[in-house]
C-alpha cells in the first residue's frame, strides 16, 4: 500500500531512493497477487448473488431447500437432499476403496519397500493420478458397470449406478491418499521405530502400533483431502451415476449428484435468470462451502502433524 501513497519517499534497505521502474514493477506484481485473491472474492460473490436470486424468486425458501425430500425442478420441487445424499454416497464408496488401499500402500512404500521398488512404483501411481477424470468416467461406464452387472445380476444393478462411479473415484483418489499418508509416515522420527524394535516388536507391530498412530493426523488430512476431491468430482458421476435425482442408499441404483446436476443442466443451453440457471449456483454454493470446509479441516490436521514432528 505504501507504494500508492508515498512513491517519492519509497526507500530500499540501504535507505536509497528506489528507481521509478523498480516501483512500477513492484506495483504490477502486487496487482497480480491481489488479483488471485479477487478470484476467491469473485467466486463467493457470484455464488451468493445468483443464489440470492434463486431464493428470492418466491418459488423456494431456504427451509424447503434444506428439508424437502424431492428435487424435481419441473414441478418446482427444490429440496437438495437427494442430490446431497448421492454425493455423500459416491464419496463414501470412493473412500471405502481408496482409504484402506491408500493407507496400506503407504505403509508398504514407507516401511517395507526397497528404494528401487519405491522409485519405480511411485511414478506409476502418479500416472494414475494424472489421468483426466473423463477417462475414469469412461472406465466406470464401460468397464466397471458391466463388471458389476455380471457379478450381481442385470436386474440388481442399473446401467447408471453410484457404485461404479464411486469405485472409479476411489481409484482416482487412491494415489493421492497413498502419497500424502506416505509423506506423513516418513516424517515419523526413526527413534520411535527403533524404540519399539528394541522392545521386541515385529515389523507389522511397529507399522500398525507405532508408525500409523504417530502419523494419524497426517493420514486423516489425506482422508479429508480425498473426500473433498470426491465431493467435487464431476465427470465420473456425470457419465456413470445417471441423470435424475433419487433419494436412495442403494449403490446399484441411479442417482444424480450435486456436481452431476450442475453439469447436466449447464450442458444444455440454459437461458440466464431462469430457475434452472439460478439453481446450479445455489447448489454450487453448497458444494463450495462443503469442499472449503473439508480443505480447512485437512490443513488443520497437517498443521497439527507438523507441530508435532517438524
Amino acid at each position: 500500500m505504501r507504494s500508492l501513497f508515498g512513491i517519492a519517499r519509497e526507500k530500499n534497505e540501504l535507505g536509497k531512493k528506489l528507481r521509478m521502474g523498480e516501483i512500477l514493477i513492484r506495483g504490477v506484481l502486487t496487482f497480480f497477487a491481489v488479483l488471485s485473491v479477487s478470484i476467491t472474492v469473485g467466486i463467493v460473490y457470484i455464488l451468493a448473488v445468483e443464489s440470492a436470486r434463486f431464493f428470492s424468486s418466491g418459488e423456494v425458501t431456504i427451509k424447503e431447500f434444506i428439508t424437502s425430500l424431492k428435487w424435481q425442478p419441473v414441478i418446482r420441487q427444490f429440496g437438495i437432499l437427494p442430490l446431497f445424499n448421492s454425493t455423500i454416497l459416491t464419496s463414501f464408496i470412493a473412500m471405502l476403496v481408496a482409504g484402506p488401499l491408500g493407507v496400506f500402500a503407504a505403509i508398504y512404500l514407507s516401511e517395507y519397500a526397497s528404494d528401487k521398488f519405491r522409485s519405480r512404483v511411485k511414478p506409476t501411481l502418479e500416472v494414475l493420478a494424472g489421468i483426466p477424470t473423463i477417462v475414469y468416467g469412461y472406465f466406470a461406464l464401460t468397464f466397471i458397470t458391466p463388471f458389476l452387472r455380471s457379478i450381481f445380476g442385470v436386474n440388481t444393478v442399473d446401467i447408471y449406478n453410484t457404485a461404479a462411479a464411486g469405485i472409479a473415484m476411489g481409484i482416482l483418489i487412491f494415489p493421492m491418499i497413498a502419497s500424502m499418508s506416505e509423506d506423513a509416515m516418513n516424517a515419523v522420527p526413526h527413534g520411535l521405530r527403533e524404540a519399539a524394535y528394541g522392545l521386541g516388536a515385529t515389523k507389522l507391530e511397529v507399522s500398525i502400533g507405532v508408525v500409523v498412530p504417530a502419523a494419524v493426523s497426517g493420514i486423516l488430512a489425506a482422508f479429508v483431502m480425498g473426500l473433498s476431491r470426491a465431493v467435487g468430482e464431476t465427470m465420473i458421476v456425470a457419465l456413470a451415476a445417471g441423470a435424475g435425482s433419487a433419494l436412495t442408499l442403494n449403490p446399484f441404483k441411479s442417482a444424480e449428484t450435486m456436481t452431476g446436476y450442475i453439469a447436466r443442466i449447464s450442458g444444455g443451453d440454459i437461458g440466464f435468470d431462469t430457475m434452472d440457471y439460478n439453481s446450479i449456483f445455489a447448489i454450487g454454493m453448497v458444494l463450495f462451502f462443503l469442499t472449503l470446509m473439508l480443505n480447512i479441516i485437512s490443513q488443520k490436521f497437517v498443521r497439527k502433524f507438523r507441530e508435532k514432528y517438524e
Binding site: 521502474g21 523498480e22 488471485s36 496400506f104 477417462v135 515385529t202 507389522l204 469442499t291
Partner: protein, 407 residues
C-alpha cells in the same frame, strides 16, 4: 500374546502380503484402465453396403477396369440433383479423375455402414464366433479389422456417423483454449509467485494471499466453470463474443466462445502455476541473490537476470504440468457452454468451441456402442498428448539441470 512368537511372525508375514497387494492394486487398476480403452479402440467390424457395387453391374474394384461414363451415370441415378450440383460446383466432374469419382460412388451410393463392432479381445480370441455371427445375423456384410484411431480420424471434422467422425475440430479447439490459458495464467502466476517470494513481507495481508492460493487449488473445477459462466460468458459477453471488436463470429455464441473457455481454464490452473513457481524460486540459493546485490544490481535486475533464469526449469516444468491438467479438464468447459456439435473448424477466439475431452464425454454418453469405440480412440489421442507433455517436462528439466552445474 507377547510369548506367542510364531503367531506374531505369521501375522507379520500376512501383513506384508496385504500391504504389497494394496500397492500392486494401484498398478493393476492402471493396467485394467488402459486395457479397457485399447480393447475398444481396435477390433473387427461388420460392414454392410446400402447398395452393393455389384447391383450396378460393376464386378471389379480395380480402377483400370472402371468406366467413367458408367460411374457418372450411377451417380446421377442414385443421388439427389442438389448433391450433384454441389460436387460439380466444388470441382467439375470432367476434371475429376476416375478414382475420385469412384470414391464418391463408394461414399454416397454404395454407402458402407458399420452394423456391428467387436472389441479387440474378442476379435483375437473368438474369431470363429464372430465370423459365424456375421454370416447368420448380417448376411451380405463383410468383416474387416478396423483401427478406430487413424489419420483419417485425426483429420476429419465431427460427423453424426461414428465411422466417419473425427476429432479435428476438437483438437483445434483444445489447442486454442490451452493457448489462451497459457498466455493468461503463466505471466500472472509467475508474477504472483515472484511477489510472494521476493517482495512480500511477513504480514497479515500477504499471509491472506498465500492461504487463499492454497484454498483456490482445492476448489472443485466445476466451480471455476460457474465463475467463467457468470463472469466471462454473461458479464463480459460483449468482449468474449467479440462484439466490441466487431469480430463476432456467430450471434448464436452468446459469449460461449473459445476466449471464455480459455480464460476460465487459465484461472483454474493459476494456483497450480503459482505454487510450483514459488517452490522453484524458493530453491534459488541466497548466495546468488547476495552476489548480485553485491555488484550493485537492483532488486528487479537480480530477479530478472539471476533468480528467474536459475529457477526457469522448475517454473516451466510446473507450468507444463498445469497445462496438462487443463488439457484434460472437462467439467468447467461443459458449464461454460461447449457446443454439442461443431462441424466447422474454429477460425478465431470468438468462435463457438468444442474440445477433446468434451468430445470424449459426448461420445461416451451416446447409447450406440460404435460411439464408445470412437470415444476410446479419442481417449488414446488425449493420453498420448498428455504423455508427450509430461515427457517434454522431464526432458526440459534434465536439460536445464546440466546447465545449472555451471552456476
Amino acid at each position: 500374546m507377547i510369548s506367542d512368537i510364531t503367531g506374531r511372525q505369521k501375522k507379520n508375514r500376512t501383513g506384508i502380503l496385504l500391504f504389497q497387494a494394496a500397492t500392486l492394486a494401484g498398478i493393476f487398476a492402471l493396467i485394467v484402465l488402459l486395457y479397457s480403452v485399447i480393447n475398444e479402440s481396435f477390433g473387427y467390424v461388420a460392414i454392410q453396403d446400402e447398395h452393393p457395387i455389384e447391383e450396378f453391374g460393376i464386378t471389379s474394384e480395380k480402377i483400370e477396369d472402371l468406366q467413367r461414363a458408367q460411374l457418372i451415370e450411377i451417380l446421377e441415378q442414385n443421388i439427389s440433383k442438389g448433391l450433384i450440383h454441389r460436387f460439380e460446383f466444388e470441382k467439375p466432374f470432367s476434371q475429376r479423375s476416375t478414382e475420385e469419382i469412384f470414391g464418391i460412388v463408394l461414399d454416397k451410393v454404395v454407402n458402407p455402414q458399420v452394423v456391428r463392432a467387436w472389441s479387440l479381445a474378442s476379435s483375437i480370441f473368438q474369431r470363429e464366433k464372430i465370423r459365424d455371427e456375421t454370416r447368420t445375423e448380417y448376411p451380405g456384410a463383410r468383416l474387416e479389422f478396423r483401427s478406430w484411431i487413424s489419420f483419417r480420424f485425426l483429420f476429419s471434422a465431427q460427423s453424426s456417423i461414428p465411422e466417419k467422425t473425427g476429432i479435428k475440430t476438437a483438437l483445434i479447439g483444445s489447442f486454442f483454449i490451452i493457448g489462451i490459458a497459457i498466455i493468461t495464467a503463466i505471466p500472472l502466476g509467475v508474477g504472483t509467485a515472484i511477489y510472494l517470494e521476493e517482495y512480500s513481507k511477513l504480514n497479515r495481508f500477504n499471509n491472506l494471499i498465500q492461504v487463499n492460493i492454497y484454498n483456490l487449488a482445492g476448489i472443485p473445477s466445476i466451480i471455476y466453470g460457474m465463475l467463467g459462466l457468470a463472469v466471462f460468458v454473461r458479464g463480459l459477453e460483449p468482449l468474449t463474443s467479440g462484439l466490441i471488436f466487431n469480430a463476432a463470429q456467430d450471434s448464436a455464441s452468446n459469449g460461449r466462445t473459445i476466449l471464455s473457455a480459455g480464460l476460465t481454464l487459465g484461472i483454474l490452473v493459476l494456483p497450480i502455476i503459482i505454487i510450483n513457481a514459488q517452490e522453484a524460486i524458493r530453491g534459488v540459493p541466497r548466495s546468488l541473490r547476495f552476489s548480485s546485490f553485491g555488484i550493485g544490481a537492483t532488486k528487479w535486475q537480480t530477479i530478472w537476470h539471476h533468480v528467474l533464469p536459475y529457477s526457469m526449469d522448475r517454473i516451466l516444468t510446473g507450468s507444463i504440468l498445469a497445462i496438462s491438467r487443463a488439457l484434460g479438464e472437462t467439467a468447467p468447459l461443459i458449464v461454460v457452454g461447449a457446443s454439442t456439435f461443431v462441424a466447422k473448424q474454429p477460425s478465431s477466439v470468438f468462435s463457438k468451441f468444442t474440445a477433446l475431452p468434451i468430445q470424449i464425454y459426448q461420445w461416451t454418453a451416446r447409447p450406440q456402442p460404435e460411439f464408445r469405440k470412437v470415444a476410446a480412440a479419442a481417449i488414446i489421442v488425449l493420453l498420448i498428448l498428455l504423455l508427450t507433455l509430461n515427457a517434454g517436462a522431464i526432458i526440459l528439466r534434465n536439460r536445464y539441470a546440466k546447465k545449472k552445474k555451471r552456476w
